[in-house]
């Protein structure tokens, strides 16, 4: 049974950092944990105002590295309902673009 590893996204978020840089670092950490056979929970509870670009990039990097089905092994803990909606919309778009 794979371990569930929690990653705090806030460690890669800083006021002057580009969203894409934050997302790339988070995605890298997730991909490494998946490669090690673990499942991953991404804790977003102390990150506010996450734009869709952030989720898009993370989800695409995971799918590129391990395939679309691997997204099932990654869960997110959200700070708010609107953050969840933003994520779900990105996840839907990424799944559609990979399926196309």
């Amino acid at each position: 049974m794979p371990d569930l590893v929690t990653i705090k996204a806030s460690q890669w978020v800083a006021p002057q950092r580009a969203v894409t840089d934050s997302a790339e670092d988070t995605a890298h950490a997730i991909v490494e944990q998946l490669r090690a056979g673990n499942s991953v929970e991404v804790d977003l509870t102390d990150v506010r105002g996450v734009p869709s670009s952030y989720f898009n990039l993370i989800l695409i990097r995971i799918a590129e590295a391990h395939g679309l089905p691997t997204l099932e092994r990654v869960t997110f803990r959200f700070a708010s309902a609107v953050q969840r909606t933003t994520y779900e919309r990105s996840a839907h778009a990424v799944r559609e673009s990979f399926a196309a």
Binding site: P15, R17, R48, P51, S80, A81, V82
Partner: protein, 300 residues
């Protein structure tokens, strides 16, 4: 030397924004003119939207090496406060925005950004925090609107002055107004660079809002930014105005999606302005509907 003299009222309404952009057009449209006088002494009212647009145009002129002389409003105490609180006074004095994250009175002073939208919401939340207690969902609505608008500028605009943001909290109306603008290639321009075949600009924007169309300026773009902004603003019962390259769009909160604005600007400055205004009701509770859900935000 040419003089650009503004007069009348430029508040936080869409029509004000359209008129201001039209009147500022010569500054970006007359490359032969090397010296400008901005005369704002006869304006009667200025708001956060005007501060952002004026700030962006001013920064662009500085970047192009133009000689500028600015007469800030000096009539009423409120207009003098406006010049100070929005950071326009600092901008004119130093040529760059102060970049302070500390709100002044009812304004977040002009902020210029190039790379990161993360910090932009902090100053707006700090401003509101001076007056009200806001809950996490409302804060996230606000931050996501700002992040999505700013990320659009970062990803697509190719604006040499980056983006410029100003925010105002209007206590009598209990409304926060945020304006983010750039002087880049505009929404239509970024879509064209991505090889998108647009029947018309208005149709493209409508589709962008409803289904998500992206210029793919980055390979990871999915075309969700404006749609998320629309949902966040309308979820709070607010208004959203998009202005870009000759067309304006506004949200009618009584209908679910984008409505073409009734005022088209013949030749506005290049780039885009994304202005959102979120009302905060004063009845003791704040009710905002988003995706069929009711949020209640107690106001202390």
């Amino acid at each position: 030397m040419e003089t650009l003299k503004l007069s009348g009222s430029f508040g936080d309404e869409r029509t004000d924004l359209l008129r201001l952009c039209t009147e500022l057009r010569p500054v970006t449209n007359k490359p032969d003119v090397q010296s400008w006088v901005f005369d704002l002494r006869e304006v009667e009212k200025l708001g956060a939207f005007a501060a952002s647009v004026l700030g962006a145009v001013y920064l662009s002129a500085v970047e192009r090496g133009l000689r500028l002389s600015v007469h800030l409003p000096d009539g009423s105490p409120s207009l003098r406060s406006f010049a100070k609180d929005t950071g326009l006074e600092d901008l004119v004095a130093t040529g760059v925005p102060a970049g302070s994250s500390s709100p002044r009175h009812t304004y977040v002073p002009l902020i210029q950004f190039f790379d990161s939208p993360w910090f932009l919401g902090d100053s707006v939340v700090a401003l509101l925090g001076k007056y009200k207690r806001i809950d996490g969902d409302f804060e996230d609505y606000l931050r996501i609107c700002i992040s999505e608008a700013a990320q659009n500028v970062i990803d697509h605009a190719q604006s040499t002055v980056g983006g410029v943001m100003c925010c105002r909290y209007n206590e009598p109306d209990n409304r926060v107004s945020v304006c983010i603008c750039d002087l880049g290639i505009g929404i239509a321009g970024s879509l064209q660079l991505g090889g998108k075949d647009m029947a018309t600009f208005t149709q493209t924007l409508r589709e962008k809002a409803q289904r998500g169309i992206t210029s793919k300026s980055r390979p990871t773009n999915q075309g969700l930014g404006i749609r998320n902004m629309l949902d966040a603003v309308t979820g709070c019962g607010g208004d959203l105005v998009l202005l870009s390259s000759g067309h304006s769009f506004t949200i009618d909160t009584s209908v679910p999606f984008l409505k073409i604005g009734d005022g088209l600007v013949p030749r506005p400055p290049p780039g885009r302005s994304q202005a959102s205004s979120l009302p905060r009701h004063r009845s003791g509770d704040f009710h905002a509907r988003a995706g069929g859900m009711i949020f209640t935000c107690p106001i202390s």
